[in-house]
Symmetry: C2
Subunit: 355 residues, 2 copies
């Protein structure tokens, strides 16, 4: 049941009861037309020094504050961009959003955020809400979205970027890197070290194309070298430290003699868990077991013996996404696909296998 059909109307937020001071008030006080006042605020260079200062003074004394809704309605521009990310709980996304927000702000845009919980249907709902809100550009994570979402953005003519990805066949604008290739490199590094028995603790692939791509990259590299990732040596699990610990136990089960010598984790959180659990199991990292992660979060370089991982420039991607979007919105030249550099950071958690 709904709360009651007689819904109470909410009060209109307003100090005391004084009406909002509007642009025409400012114009009146300054003794100019509203049009001129508007120009002073939006294109000051197009108005004479004299009037300009009168208007600015009037605005100041009246404490005038623009009404973005009216501006948006009249100009058909909201000066707002949107982002829907899986969650802000993962620091790597949070920093990405931070980069997006700061750059967008520098360029005069505000950011509206929403989260999808790694679910394409929720992502669609959230994006729709943002579109209603009049966002002029949209940042999404990954490339796997609800088909209706692409359609929606297209018919509304709203530019978007898929971030964290940059795959060969990308038909959509993107800013990121090739997760398959990055995972392949990471794996090859281990292969080059001499490892032949592998395990992988992957993130959940459903609703997360980056996680899936990383698995693909690992498998590809292994296969290319004729190395198998055995059934029990692969586990898919949500990102988290606890999960990494459980994951390690799972993939290391069985005869110690045939135990993997290297474990590849879907991200750093899982890798931290794996390292902690290895220690708890009395295993030496990297002596008994090499561990690699993905993301290069702040802790990775400090956690002993240091985590070998793939560095992902999340803030940079956020900033590039903002630039791409704003450039598109403002009809400035853009690159349709932008690649950022991920780089392998070798630290103490990896070494050649024993023997």
């Amino acid at each position: 049941m709904e709360p009651k059909s007689t819904r109470k109307r909410f009060h209109v937020a307003q100090g005391a009861g004084e009406k909002q001071v509007k642009l025409s008030d400012v114009a009146a006080l300054a003794g100019v037309s509203p049009a001129t006042a508007s120009r002073v605020l939006n294109r000051p260079e197009k108005v004479g020094r004299e009037m300009r200062e009168r208007v600015q003074a009037a605005a100041a004394t009246l404490g005038y504050v623009r009404d973005a809704a009216a501006r948006a309605l009249a100009s058909r521009r909201s000066r707002t961009i949107g982002a829907v990310v899986p969650t802000l709980d993962n620091p790597i996304f949070a920093t990405g959003v931070q980069g997006l927000e700061s750059r967008a702000n520098e360029r005069g845009y505000s950011l509206v955020v929403a989260s999808s919980d790694y679910r394409v249907d929720k992502e669609l709902r959230q994006a729709t809400m943002l579109l209603e809100r009049g966002i002029e550009g949209l940042m999404l994570m990954g490339t796997e979205h609800h088909p209706s979402l692409y359609a929606l953005m297209k018919t509304r003519g709203v530019p978007h970027v898929n971030s964290w990805v940059n795959e060969g066949d990308a038909e959509h604008p993107c800013i990121g890197f090739d997760n398959v290739e990055a995972a392949t490199r990471l794996t090859n590094y281990l292969l080059d070290l001499g490892h032949r028995r592998f395990a992988m603790i992957a993130g959940v692939a459903k609703g997360n194309d980056r996680a899936a791509a990383r698995v693909e990259g690992v498998r590809a590299a292994l296969t290319a070298d004729g190395v198998a990732l055995e059934e029990g040596r692969f586990i898919e699990i949500p990102y988290g430290v606890r999960e990494g610990r459980d994951g390690l136990r799972a993939v290391l089960a069985g005869d110690p003699a045939t135990r993997p010598t290297a474990v590849i984790c879907g991200n750093d959180l899982l890798a931290f868990g794996a390292m902690f659990e290895a220690a708890a199991m009395g295993l030496d990292v990297p002596g008994d077991l090499s561990v690699v992660g993905f993301d290069d979060t702040e802790l990775s370089s400090h956690i002993p013996p240091g985590l070998t991982t793939m560095h992902v420039p999340s803030v940079e991607m956020g900033k590039l996404a903002a630039d791409y979007l704003v450039n598109r919105i403002e009809d400035q030249p853009v690159r349709h696909r932008t690649r950022v550099e991920v780089r392998l950071v070798v630290r103490g958690s990896t070494a050649p296998p024993r023997g």
Copy 2:
């Protein structure tokens, strides 16, 4: 110099060239008045089943999307709330924002975020921008803000909450906990363990009243027990792991015989750094040195030997802030001050001093 006085006008985002379908189009197709169509969308219960379904069908076939700007202008309600946080880079804030966003969304509001970089002047600018954007409620971190900001919110009649704080004299609505008291408890715990020689690695107090309050709490507890925090045993440093390591070296300098037996860190990141550095220095935690943090981030429970810290319910605070704000906006009853529980989580990083 500005880009050139002849600024190019941006294109109006719109698919192909087809005009946006508006409510009157929907109404026309459904054969009803715009007023009725509007009602169907906003208060469906106030309209007959018959017309309601006609309108809904029409909206669906036309792919109608509401225009929030027009809605906001006409209704004087933006259904948007704002948050300005120091940075999203700190996971504890990111999760707080996540809680705020999710609850706000559940209640039909969108979230616009901005960041202040721990600077009150930037916070003021950002908040002003949000106010222009028509936010109906604002979440801020801490209690220390530019006086003009309080004035602005008051004259505009926009409700706000200070989060992460709940201090005795709070004249403003807040949702959080008493940082002084929490730090005092943390310190007393160490005191009760028998520690008498302390060090503190604090966050930067300037622009961060929470950091300052934590220092105050530590000092108060120490003083109450007649224990001194010596000059060289206190350092103020930005939050970060690297900084925690440097900080530890700094506060542990000097004669090992009079070295502190316990170090209190301003947050978990600093504490992690301190623990890593202690290990690097050959010090056993907690044998030679007890370490405590603040926040209880995901890693705290996993990092060996486990970090004793003060658990801060950041997601919960975000959700409560959203509820408070939305309730205020919608004229529902609210508690002006809401306290959340922080609790001491004792783990392996603390023990009585040797001897």
